[in-house]
């Protein structure tokens, strides 16, 4: 007893550390649902975060607008020129698409997607260390959100829900290094194993005989993992064949600009 009295603090800290290590061990595989107190806390903090998030975004946009004012005119001309070019490209593209078989698959894709039910959500906070690798949205189990649901934007795939509380959820985006899923090249139908990489890019691995090229579009395969099929992932930026490797490596530009997202859709 005397020993415990003399080392009371050491014993206390030891117990706390032991408890936390146990907590880490128990939740290391991820949790589908948070406990009620955690949900309550997340909801409370989520509403405060949301206010700060949108206020900060507004201030940032205003600051960027002021900073860009001097170069606005030349930029406007440049953008108008680009817009003209894009319009011409779009016209060509539409003509080609109308004559192409891909229209059929596109329509099928749309019809397939129409079967899904969507839940709209807004981003309320971002992980301070990891940025958009993990972010919090303002929808939870009360809104019908479930673990592993696919999160998208109209441009393409964003990530998946990894933790759900009553009114908020955490989303693991596809750019996180721990995100791993299967994609498929639309043109060649080669399968690609995709994981997150630095600088908001994705890294993919394909068979050495795959005929994948720069500019190819990658979609989700729907074969393994949690993502629905045929959601656009991004465009191939670079194809590398590292020496001594049996696979090619591809760098993929995500279709979604993750650093600029505000609202997302969750596929139910």
């Amino acid at each position: 007893m005397k020993w415990f009295g003399e080392h009371k603090f050491g014993v206390l800290i030891g117990l706390v550390i032991g408890m936390l290590v146990l907590g880490i061990g128990m939740t290391s595989g991820g949790r589908a649902h948070t406990t009620a107190p955690e949900g309550l806390l997340s909801s409370g903090v989520g509403s405060v975060s949301r206010f700060f998030y949108y206020s900060s975004q507004y201030v940032n946009n205003f600051y960027e607008f002021i900073s860009d004012l001097s170069t606005l005119r030349s930029r406007n001309e440049e953008l108008e020129e680009q817009l003209g070019e894009y319009k011409r490209n779009l016209t060509d593209y539409e003509k080609v698409v109308q004559e192409n078989r891909e229209l059929k698959s596109l329509l099928e894709f749309k019809e397939e997607n129409a079967q899904y039910e969507y839940i709209s959500a807004s981003v309320v906070a971002i992980d301070p260390d990891l940025g958009f690798s993990v972010f919090v949205i303002n929808r939870g189990s009360d809104d019908g959100v479930g673990n592993n649901m696919t999160v998208i934007l109209k441009e393409g795939l964003v990530g998946r829900v990894v933790e759900v509380s009553s009114s908020t959820s955490k989303v693991l985006s596809i750019i996180d290094r721990n995100s791993m899923f299967n994609g498929v090249c639309v043109r060649t139908r080669d399968y690609v194993r995709i994981t997150g990489d630095d600088n908001y890019k994705l890294r993919g691995y394909v068979d050495s005989e795959a005929e994948i090229e720069v500019g190819d579009i990658i979609t989700t395969s729907g074969l393994t993992g949690n993502f629905k099929k045929d959601i656009v992932v991004g465009e191939v930026l670079e194809v590398q064949t590292p020496q001594g490797r049996l696979e090619k490596e591809v760098i993929i530009e995500p279709a979604v600009q993750l650093e600029k997202i505000n609202n997302v859709l969750i596929i139910k």
Binding site: L20, V21, V45, D127, P128, E163
Partner: protein, 164 residues
Amino acid sequence: MKAIGLIFILLFELIIQGTFFQFMSINGYYPDLVLITLVVIGVFYEKEVSWKYGFVIGVLRDVIFGRVFGVYALSYTVTIVTVSWIGKNIFKESFAAPVILFPIGVVMMHALVYFTHYLLRMAIPIGDYISNFGILYWGINLPALLAIYTLLRMLRHKGILLNM
């Protein structure tokens, strides 16, 4: 009441880091207000008191942002206990204490976070992780540390928020 006030300040700092600083930063760098405040609390208080602040804000961070419960609670608790212990035994709350203890706190806290993530196979390459702590990081955090230390020291002398 004073303890709750400090917890609210730490929570506010955590929210600011997750929202405001994500938009308003210098090349992605911003002051780590939570760690700075914890180090200052560690300097002011003995470890028997200071550990509670590290534990509570760590738990809050794990609940709000974390994917694995306990990583930040463990790291913050161990860091603030160590800072308090060194501060009490070596520096005796001199003005140099926070300046010397902050780098120790940064190294200790991030080493624990990295090590835990490494064990959980969630760690990024160590080179990438260390590259986050360049000159700009210290250039932003050290002035913020001095500002927060001066402010909390003043509040402490006036008997607000921190007990003497």
